[in-house]
């Protein structure tokens, strides 16, 4: 496969929703250790709105679909999850044309724009034990793979691996943002729920592309 079109975008998004649905209890358990224990339910509620958005979408407006996905996630009233995830997808919307099919470079550029969108909401960097620990390496992996001329399936495979490794690396980190920040050293040894969510989303993307 060399391009992502509107239908493929819908398919990978729905796959990400399924991945969060299958793992939301684990996300809640991770959050119980270093947060207030509702990350799984909040992620599930937020991501399930993606399915609704897709079901109501018509035509092949990639830009509009991503914008609506982001906006509707923010309407779920999920604390910081809403603005963070919402701005990721709205940022991706900023990075694409209206009716378009995306080649490898355009896919990488779309996710870079998503990362920039989320960066407006979060000053966190790699090492701060947040969603960024999975998202930044995932976007970098997409860009590297695209430069190397890999297929889109290979790109998403690399991104999923990078996101998973990034999420696992948060075990050795101390939280610097969000509610977990107040726990300081006590967050050591626990994987960050937000980074884990991002890694599941990328795992969902990769699975759908490979099917």
């Amino acid at each position: 496969m060399s391009e992502v079109n509107f239908d493929m975008l819908c398919r990978i998004m729905s796959s990400a929703v399924g991945k969060i649905r299958d793992n939301h209890e684990e996300l809640t358990k991770l959050d119980s250790a270093i947060g207030d224990g509702d990350h799984g339910t909040t992620m599930l509620r937020s991501m399930e709105s993606v399915d609704t958005t897709i079901a109501e979408a018509s035509g092949d407006d990639v830009k509009g679909l991503l914008y609506d996905i982001g906006w509707n996630i923010m309407c779920c009233d999920g604390g910081s999850t809403g603005p963070l995830l919402g701005s990721l997808f709205m940022g991706m919307s900023d990075g694409v044309e209206v009716e378009t099919t995306l080649d490898a470079d355009a896919v990488a550029a779309m996710f870079r724009a998503g990362l920039e969108g989320m960066s407006v909401q979060s000053k966190a960097n790699v090492g701060d034990k947040t969603m960024m620990d999975a998202l930044i390496p995932a976007v970098e992996a997409l860009e590297a793979a695209s430069k190397e001329g890999k297929t889109i399936a290979e790109m998403f495979e690399a991104a999923a691996i990078a996101a998973k490794q990034g999420a696992e690396s948060t075990k050795d980190m101390q939280a610097k943002f969000g509610r977990a920040r107040n726990l300081g050293e006590r967050t050591l040894g626990f994987q960050d729920p937000g980074a884990t969510s991002i890694s599941y989303i990328f795992a969902g993307f990769a699975e759908a592309i490979n099917v």
């Binding site: 809640t28 119980s32 947060g35 009233d77 604390g79 809403g82 603005p83 963070l84 509610r179 107040n182």
Partner: protein, 333 residues
């Protein structure tokens, strides 16, 4: 273990509690657009409106203080989770008026993100809104930068101060000035004894051994500065008060507002016993408790513990506190 709470489907907690609250106090509050708790007898448009946002599960805060002399609108999120930016913007837009809107935000990551995005939308539409961030938790240390300190129960008396100025017809700049003066002179420290159950998940929100307490615990069970063995009311109050007095810089001859806010499972009996020590200990330091409030203001479900709040007051702030207000959970005549 099954969750011991009188609830229905956990997915409907917030909507059902807001429905019940606005039904019970239908003479004071009404529910608009599912999540916006608004005054029934609306403030005239030539006066500044006071708007806030926050998660549910902390009743009576925040929406319990919507009414004459305090809040005009409280935008409610989900349990312990801020409302999204679209809902917050809707609240600001609904209150849009030439006199302007004071937008009170508690410093928590989700609240601040939603507030900042809503403010951007408000700017784009040319709304006259000024945002004020409360950050009075001294658990991370008195000298910690404001952005690292949480907003705790202090938002509630701040609604009262700002609301009184707004009712008196003060301009937005003037309402902001008195609110910011109060904001810069207040401090809170919390102590936890017993965990609470997150009503959406049925899970305990933190662990604390039977014989332990933790000073500095936040209002979602975020950890504080350190656990210790349980101490007496007087010992606990003295440790907390010493830090609060230092934080607000109160000295002999000063007047303060003191508040004990029960977290949910700490009895009024205990809260009064703690308050008694606060009053006596401050008197020994020559500090006068000019005004006080004891009771449940901002809770964390059935968490055991309390927040101790102190604010240095001048005549202007005392006058604003004494001005009449009529809300479901605070009435001053």
């Amino acid at each position: 273990m099954a969750m011991k709470k009188f609830i229905n489907d956990p997915a409907n907690l917030t909507s059902e509690l807001l429905e019940g609250y606005t039904m019970a106090y239908s003479n004071k509050v009404k529910l608009v657009s599912d999540k916006l708790v608004c005054r029934v007898n609306e403030k005239s448009k030539d006066k500044v409106a006071i708007v806030t946002l926050g998660g549910a599960g902390h009743e009576p805060a925040l929406e319990g203080f919507v009414g004459e002399g305090m809040l005009d609108v409280s935008a409610v999120g989900d349990i312990f989770a801020a409302p999204g930016p679209p809902k917050v913007f809707e609240a600001l837009k609904m209150m849009d008026r030439p006199a302007g809107v004071l937008f009170v935000v508690l410093n928590h990551a989700g609240d601040v993100m939603s507030a900042n995005m809503a403010m951007k939308m408000a700017e784009k539409e040319g709304l006259n809104v000024k945002m004020i961030l409360t950050h009075e938790d001294i658990a991370p240390g008195i000298d910690t930068p404001d952005e690292d300190k949480r907003g705790l129960v202090g938002c509630v008396p701040l609604y009262k101060i700002a609301g009184a100025a707004a009712e008196a017809g003060a301009s937005l700049d003037e309402v902001y000035r008195v609110a910011e003066k109060f904001n810069n002179n207040m401090a809170t420290l919390a102590v936890a004894l017993k965990t609470a159950t997150h009503p959406s998940t049925g899970e305990s929100i933190f662990d604390l051994a039977d014989d332990e307490m933790e000073i500095g615990m936040g209002q979602h069970g975020e950890a504080g500065t350190g656990k210790s063995k349980i101490m007496t009311a007087d010992e606990t109050a003295e440790i907390m008060l010493t830090q609060l007095v230092k934080a607000v810089g109160a000295k002999s001859g000063d007047k303060v507002f003191a508040m004990i806010n029960g977290a949910g499972a700490t009895t009024l009996m205990e809260q009064f016993i703690v308050f008694r020590h606060v009053k006596k200990s401050l008197a020994e330091k020559g500090i006068e408790v000019a005004r006080a409030h004891v009771g449940e203001v901002l809770t964390v479900q059935e968490m055991g513990g309390f927040q101790m709040f102190l604010a240095k007051m001048d005549d202007e702030l005392i006058k604003l506190w004494d001005a009449p207000c009529d809300t479901a959970f605070l009435t001053i005549r």
